[in-house]
């Protein structure tokens, strides 16, 4: 009994280790303190919208990578100096490129990215509209006299089965 418990405990520890694997050290955002709560919220919001270039599916706020920690510190330092959000973004874009932004800026090379989806919805809508128009334009085919009689017969027969 005791042994099983120990085994479980060790397994648990190993699993916890596996989850924590790959992290150099745990970090929290608590080391970054601001006197003004609005500024703190701005900081969190800002680093949440910046990409960590090492682990590209993580934001600067969420990444454990060393470079992400350095950049968090840099962003914090700039904000403590009273720099605006735009200053920080410009600083990072000048060094790492637009790729640090999760939301790409609108410029000639990204027009397709921003408006492509609307273009496709437009094309789809146009095709749908055209097809419907064509359907409407086609004259409805009336039944011939023979078909009409046959239809009446069939309907009458169906009626017979109703109790």
């Amino acid at each position: 009994m005791m042994r099983r418990l120990t085994q479980r405990f060790v397994t648990g520890l190993l699993l916890a280790g596996a989850i924590g694997c790959g992290t150099v050290q745990a970090y929290t955002l608590e080391e970054f303190t601001f006197e003004d709560p609005a500024r703190a919220a701005e900081f969190r919001d800002l680093i949440g919208g910046l990409r960590c270039l090492v682990c590209q599916n993580e934001s600067l706020a969420g990444s454990q990578a060393g470079v992400a920690q350095d950049l968090r510190k840099e962003v914090y330092r700039m904000m403590q100096e009273g720099k605006s959000r735009q200053d920080v973004v410009d600083f990072l874009v000048a060094r790492y490129g637009d790729f640090v932004l999760y939301e790409p800026p609108l410029k000639p090379s990204t027009v397709i990215l921003w408006f492509g989806p609307f273009l496709f919805v437009g094309i789809g809508g146009w095709l749908l509209f055209r097809t419907l128009q064509r359907k409407k334009a086609e004259p409805e085919q009336d039944l011939s006299e023979a078909e009409r009689t046959r239809l009446q017969q069939l309907l009458a027969r169906t009626g017979d089965h109703q109790d």
Binding site: L53, Q56, G66, V67, D70, L71, V93, G97
Partner: protein
């Protein structure tokens, strides 16, 4: 009215275009982020030398000669992998190879150079990623080709081997000479 045969080919055409686009996308490596610093002057820096803490090195070292600025660290396996090729490049070519020891500690960095040789004219020592951020460094190894006027002309992300040197870096250098 189009014939139904041509109409039937439209979905195939759309499919092929999409397949070509996606296939092209597969060839791209999202880890290789283009640097906005290309064709811009190398960022200013003032860093101590790895070997001589008392000596401060600035961007002036990049003037007058074509330089390879190689970001490396002792903790980085790919840096060891490219080390022999850097030794060869420094020996056989008329470029100065500048080391950029990044997020490392002095003792480990020096030990690596002692063990595998030192291809660098000098190594900058940047343990806290001070200048690294200005250079847009986000991993090691990275290598910048800087021209005689101190302007960054190329950035290689990842290790350099003989093939990369010949197909990617040497042509840039030959154009600058």
């Amino acid at each position: 009215m189009k014939t139904s045969a041509t109409r039937a080919l439209i979905p195939l055409g759309i499919f092929l275009a999409l397949a070509a686009l996606l296939f092209y996308g597969l060839q791209l490596d999202p880890r290789k982020v283009p640097s906005p610093l290309i064709d811009k002057p190398a960022p200013d820096f003032a860093l101590p030398s790895l070997k001589d803490p008392g000596q401060t090195i600035t961007q002036d070292i990049l003037k007058g000669k074509i330089s390879l600025v190689n970001v490396w660290a002792s903790w980085c396996p790919s840096c060891r992998q490219e080390h022999a090729e850097l030794m060869r490049i420094a020996r056989d070519n008329d470029v100065q190879v500048i080391g950029f020891n990044w997020k490392d500690n002095r003792a480990d960095g020096l030990k690596m150079l002692q063990q595998f040789g030192d291809p660098y004219l000098v190594s900058l020592y940047d343990p806290d990623n001070q200048a690294g951020i200005d250079w847009g460094v986000y991993g090691a190894p990275e290598t910048f080709v800087v021209d005689q006027e101190g302007i960054i002309r190329h950035k290689r992300i990842g290790p350099i081997d003989r093939a990369v040197w010949e197909s990617e870096i040497l042509p840039v250098i030959e154009q600058l000479q």
